[in-house]
């Protein structure tokens, strides 16, 4: 599971109102290499919940001097874009779980795939 996806995920259990962001408890993390696309990263930055991204990076020990708010005029700062690209698309949680901040319900992650199947009552 990449952090870009994590930034989008909330708990879809019925009745939960504050199911975002999901807490990451990772036991295995890996870093891949992916081709850098500045246009895509620039387009995604306004969609991101920046605080959640920073927090997620911290949980994975990948903070790497990301600023607490996105830089103004980030489209032209390639260095910054590359850092964001790395944290969004190259860092991957392989094993672990996602925990709902409201209910405490855990969604396991195995082989990089989070299991979001709900049980009957949810």
């Amino acid at each position: 599971m990449k952090l870009l996806t994590h930034n989008m995920l909330t708990s879809h259990v019925q009745g939960v109102t504050k199911g975002y962001p999901l807490i990451i408890k990772a036991t295995e993390v890996k870093v891949n290499e992916l081709e850098f696309n500045a246009q895509f990263v620039s387009r995604m930055i306004p969609k991101l919940e920046w605080k959640a991204l920073i927090q997620a990076a911290e949980w994975l020990g990948q903070s790497q001097d990301l600023p607490s708010t996105p830089k103004p005029n980030y489209e032209s700062v390639e260095d910054f874009l590359r850092k964001v690209h790395r944290i969004l698309l190259e860092v991957e949680v392989v094993e672990g779980c996602l925990q709902c901040p409201e209910s405490g319900r855990e969604f396991p992650i195995s082989n990089g795939v989070p299991n979001l199947l709900l049980i009957e009552d949810e």
């Binding site: 870009l4 995920l9 909330t10 708990s11 879809h12 995604m44 919940e49 795939v113 199947l117 709900l118």
Partner: protein, 282 residues
């Protein structure tokens, strides 16, 4: 796929039907791969995404990642959701670029609002129309899916679903729940006059009303398409289907006369006596 006359969704729930054996076909059967790729291509075409711009897309029922690969090749980034672990395992083996999630679309999509630039789904939505558990209510599941999808999509985004509807009631059920969730749009049918090549694409618009694209082959009545035989078992079975299992009802006779007229043959005019039941000695 498996049995020749039965629809997969009548045989087992999707997480059971798409077991390792079935999943293997998606990585090995070249005809299956070809057809899935073609449908993905058409779905992306119908999405009408802005040119030369990498987009963030959702692939519902991504399975083994065949459609996802097409999205990646087109330069887009995607997130896939599927209910079958066996299929997702194949996707992992094939090293797809998109991020995969194990989930049931009928339980709703777990995303923040306005995240995706578009959504594709190949041969998946019809699975929601069957109740696989006592607690399942297809309309409710469809609505939960469509309403969460509607909110997950950015304003002006589209969702394109390639489906195999069983009958017109199923189509109505699907479109009703989609409209209830706020979508506009409709069905695009490619090659409507060919029972082999006919394909249904449900095109939905989120937030803006768009012009529905035209189906392929809607002008040419006899477009020949090759290599589609394998899928005829799961083809939609509407009132008129070529083959001996159709009753020789009035509808069928009128259809046949129409068909022959289109072919340019000489046909008697339709009167009140058309398709009237004759006595056996006739």
């Amino acid at each position: 796929m498996s049995s020749s006359c039965r629809r997969p969704e009548h045989m087992a729930p999707p997480e059971v039907f798409y077991n390792e054996q079935e999943a293997k076909k998606y990585s090995q059967n070249s005809r299956m791969i070809e057809i899935q790729t073609q449908m993905s291509e058409r779905a992306v075409e119908l999405l009408s995404l802005p040119e030369d711009q990498p987009c963030y897309l959702l692939d519902v029922g991504c399975g083994s990642g065949l459609s996802g690969d097409y999205l990646s090749e087109a330069g887009h980034y995607w997130v896939g959701v599927d209910i079958s672990t066996a299929m997702l395992d194949v996707a992992l083996q094939r090293d797809v670029e998109g991020d995969l999630l194990l989930g049931d679309m009928g339980e709703g999509l777990p995303f923040r609002p306005g995240m995706f630039d578009g959504c594709v789904s190949i041969s998946a939505l019809q699975w929601l129309c069957n109740a696989d558990k006592k607690t399942h209510s297809p309309p409710k599941r469809l609505y939960r899916f469509f309403s969460t999808l509607y909110s997950s999509l950015a304003r002006g985004a589209r969702a394109v679903f390639q489906i195999y509807p069983e009958n017109s009631e199923q189509l109505e059920l699907i479109t009703a729940q989609a409209m209830k969730a706020g979508f506009t749009g409709g069905m695009v049918v490619d090659f409507p006059n060919s029972s082999k090549a006919k394909k249904f694409f449900l095109c939905l618009f989120a937030g803006v009303s768009g012009v529905l694209p035209k189906g392929l082959g809607s002008e040419a009545a006899d477009r020949a398409v090759s290599g589609q035989a394998q899928f005829t078992a799961q083809r939609s079975r509407f009132k008129h289907m070529k083959g001996k299992c159709v009753k020789k009802s009035k509808d069928w006779i009128v259809e046949k006369k129409e068909r022959r007229r289109r072919q340019g043959k000489e046909v008697r005019a339709d009167t009140k006596y058309t398709a009237r039941h004759r006595k056996p000695r006739f």
